[in-house]
């Protein structure tokens, strides 16, 4: 009888269920940060955030610093526990940088690849930027010829033959150079990132 009636009058949508599956905003409210904690966080993450703003989003230094301040102020006011502070700050820095260019867009032209920056893949963003920063540092340790070779091949997209022409050498040697320089960058990268006991 119950099922027959159920056909006549469809059961109401299960609102009870909708309500149970709610946003788990019941996460512990975060206690306010102490001034010292905030300063320590700023000191720890500032370089990475500055790198993102200046290098990735090409925002001028002075404006970048203001954006970093805004990111930390937002972080302080989030009000809920944040497990991965670095990831949160990095994602927020990207958000602030995009906001910056949107605001600037009213008065001046945007960089050519602005649209690329509007939607960076968010997954592992913090790690990606940290790696970029480390590679940037690793390139400083390379000999100029090595750096030029990698730039020609991996950034400008020139073939080994074209690199050979540019460096006035044989394609075979250019290929060898590309391999050796890439190995060298990786060695330096590993040395920088290895935590010493």
């Amino acid at each position: 009888m119950l099922e027959q009636n159920a056909l006549e009058v469809p059961p109401a949508p299960d609102e009870k269920q909708v309500k149970t599956a709610s946003e788990p905003v019941r996460s512990t409210a975060r206690e306010p940060q102490q001034a010292g904690d905030v300063e320590a966080l700023y000191n720890e993450h500032r370089t990475l955030l500055l790198y993102i703003a200046c290098r990735k989003f090409r925002i001028p230094d002075c404006d970048s610093e203001n954006l970093i301040q805004d990111v930390f102020l937002s972080y302080l006011q989030t009000g809920t526990k944040i497990d991965n502070v670095r990831a949160w700050l990095v994602a927020a820095m990207c958000n602030a940088s995009r906001h910056y260019w949107r605001a600037q867009g009213r008065t001046e032209s945007l960089p050519d690849d602005f649209t690329d920056r509007l939607d960076p893949s968010s997954q592992g963003l913090a790690d990606t930027f940290a790696m970029q920063m480390t590679i940037h540092q690793a390139l400083d340790y390379l000999a100029e010829k090595c750096r030029d070779t990698l730039h020609l091949h991996y950034f400008e997209g020139r073939s080994a033959v074209e690199v050979a022409t540019q460096l006035e050498t044989t394609p075979r040697y250019a290929e060898k150079l590309i391999h050796n320089c890439l190995q060298r960058v990786r060695d330096i990268y590993i040395r920088i990132t290895t935590v010493k006991p």
């Binding site: 006549e8 409210a29 927020a92 906001h99 190995q183 990268y189």
Partner: protein
């Protein structure tokens, strides 16, 4: 002893240079050698970075921390801490006694109108949802009243806009929780408008999007809800916020529920369950379990559904989330009803209604009461069913629910049908559906079905 053989760096680089990813994927040694795979991945990542403009920029970055930023952040943190400490006392005094007294008390104390009080009230609304949902709604009302009257110039940066956004978002959630979906959506609009004034807005707006997606569900606006949920999932993934990633994923699952794609929903939920694991956040596990319960129910696996509901209820009990426990047990009662286990269902309804009564969850109390009336009717216990209807009418009158007169007319009609033994399951469900829809459709007229 056979020495382990690996690819040389030259080999690995040559593979990458070759650019044949399919050949790499087919390579048997790489498939079985973690060392070579890791080296290849590192080279791949480095090559990807070298193709980007950023690492080639040789201009100097200012390496030293900026003293003025440090000073601003320290001053803000200190003042926020002081404000929050003061607010604790204010909020305790403000929320004394019945909720009807709170707003007049706030109006008598202008010194309580601080950012700290807004933050404390927002934080207080969640526990209140567990204990006394109408209180939570009023708490968010107080938070908005204060936030909307703060002077932006008195605080640094976009503090006031952020506070307003947060207050409206908490209100949207509380309204969703009590089933006032239209109002919840309107509050989402206000929250979004406030957050859009902030430099960093996407995280907060993603939280609003989840609530909006949930509140759109009852209106069957599935495409919108799905799109909002998907965008929120992406945002929370970027911010590495597991709890909210799960919550946004659940709101996407709800869209699958609405589209009756229960198999797809089950797969999504099981993936989430694996991701959260046994050691994950308890409230997340309860959330997933409750939804798994619903999904299994719809797929006809009643035993698995009951087990998941029981798990969810026990976690909520342990967390002292009384209203959530009651809601989950309401689902158990509904499932027992569907299974024809009427006596067990009635016993569970009794527990649930006692809880709804204690928690002042009036509308849930009334709806669950009509479900009890249906069960009693199935047992031909007309007199008891009639007395339940009478009790429901009395409750509607006392609680002053929205559209009291219309709800009373419908329940009165049912009561009379019970008395004259003309009531049918069809009629009970008709009244049940009508009363449930009234808060969202206040102009809905009650038209009795043909008996």
């Amino acid at each position: 002893m056979i020495a382990e053989v690996h690819y040389t760096d030259d080999h690995l680089i040559a593979m990458l240079e070759g650019g044949d990813e399919q050949a790499i994927a087919r390579n048997q040694h790489l498939a079985s050698c973690a060392t070579c795979r890791q080296s290849l991945d590192e080279y791949r990542s480095i090559v990807r970075v070298l193709a980007d403009e950023a690492p080639w920029d040789r201009s100097e970055l200012k390496d030293e921390p900026d003293p003025s930023t440090v000073a601003t952040l320290r001053a803000f943190a200190t003042s926020m801490q002081r404000e929050d400490e003061e607010a604790e006392t204010y909020v305790a005094a403000l929320l004394e006694g019945a909720r009807e007294t709170w707003m007049p008390r706030l109006r008598a104390h202008p010194e309580w109108r601080t950012a700290g009080v807004v933050r404390r009230l927002a934080a207080a609304s969640y526990p209140a949802l567990d204990k006394m949902p109408p209180d939570a709604v009023e708490i968010t009302n107080l938070a908005i009243e204060i936030a909307e009257h703060l002077v932006p110039g008195a605080y640094v940066s976009d503090t006031v806009a952020r506070l307003r956004g947060a207050a409206w978002r908490e209100r949207a959630y509380a309204l969703f929780f009590v089933g006032r979906f239209h109002e919840s959506l309107a509050a989402c609009d206000r929250a979004d408008a406030a957050f859009s004034e902030c430099v960093v807005d996407e995280y907060d707006r993603a939280r609003v999007a989840v609530i909006r997606a949930l509140s759109l569900g009852p209106f069957d606006r599935l495409a919108e809800a799905a799109s909002l949920a998907t965008a929120a999932i992406k945002t929370f993934s970027g911010y590495a916020d597991e709890a909210r990633f799960v919550s946004a994923s659940i709101s996407a699952v709800h869209v699958q529920f609405k589209a009756r794609d229960y198999k797809g929903a089950l797969a999504s939920l099981l993936r989430l369950s694996d991701g959260v694991g046994q050691h994950g956040d308890e409230s997340l596990r309860a959330l997933i379990a409750a939804n798994l319960g619903f999904c299994y129910r719809e797929l006809g696996n009643s035993e698995a559904a009951l087990a998941q509901y029981a798990l969810a209820a026990s976690i909520h009990d342990a967390n002292k989330s009384d209203s959530e426990s009651a809601r989950v047990r309401w689902n158990i009662a509904g499932l027992l009803t569907a299974l024809g286990r009427t006596d067990e269902a009635l016993a569970m309804f009794a527990v649930v209604r006692t809880e709804f009564d204690r928690l002042s969850m009036e509308s849930e109390y009334v709806i669950a009461g009509l479900e009890v009336a249906e069960l009693l009717l199935l047992q031909n216990r007309f007199e008891v069913a009639e007395s339940v209807c009478r009790e429901i009418s009395a409750r509607i009158e006392i609680a002053g629910l929205s559209n009291t007169s219309r709800a009373l007319a419908a329940v009165g009609f049912l009561q009379e049908a019970m008395r004259s033994r003309r009531a049918t399951v069809k009629l009970v469900r008709h009244v049940h559906d009508y009363v449930r829809r009234l808060p969202e459709e206040p102009n809905l007229l009650f038209a009795p079905p043909l008996l």
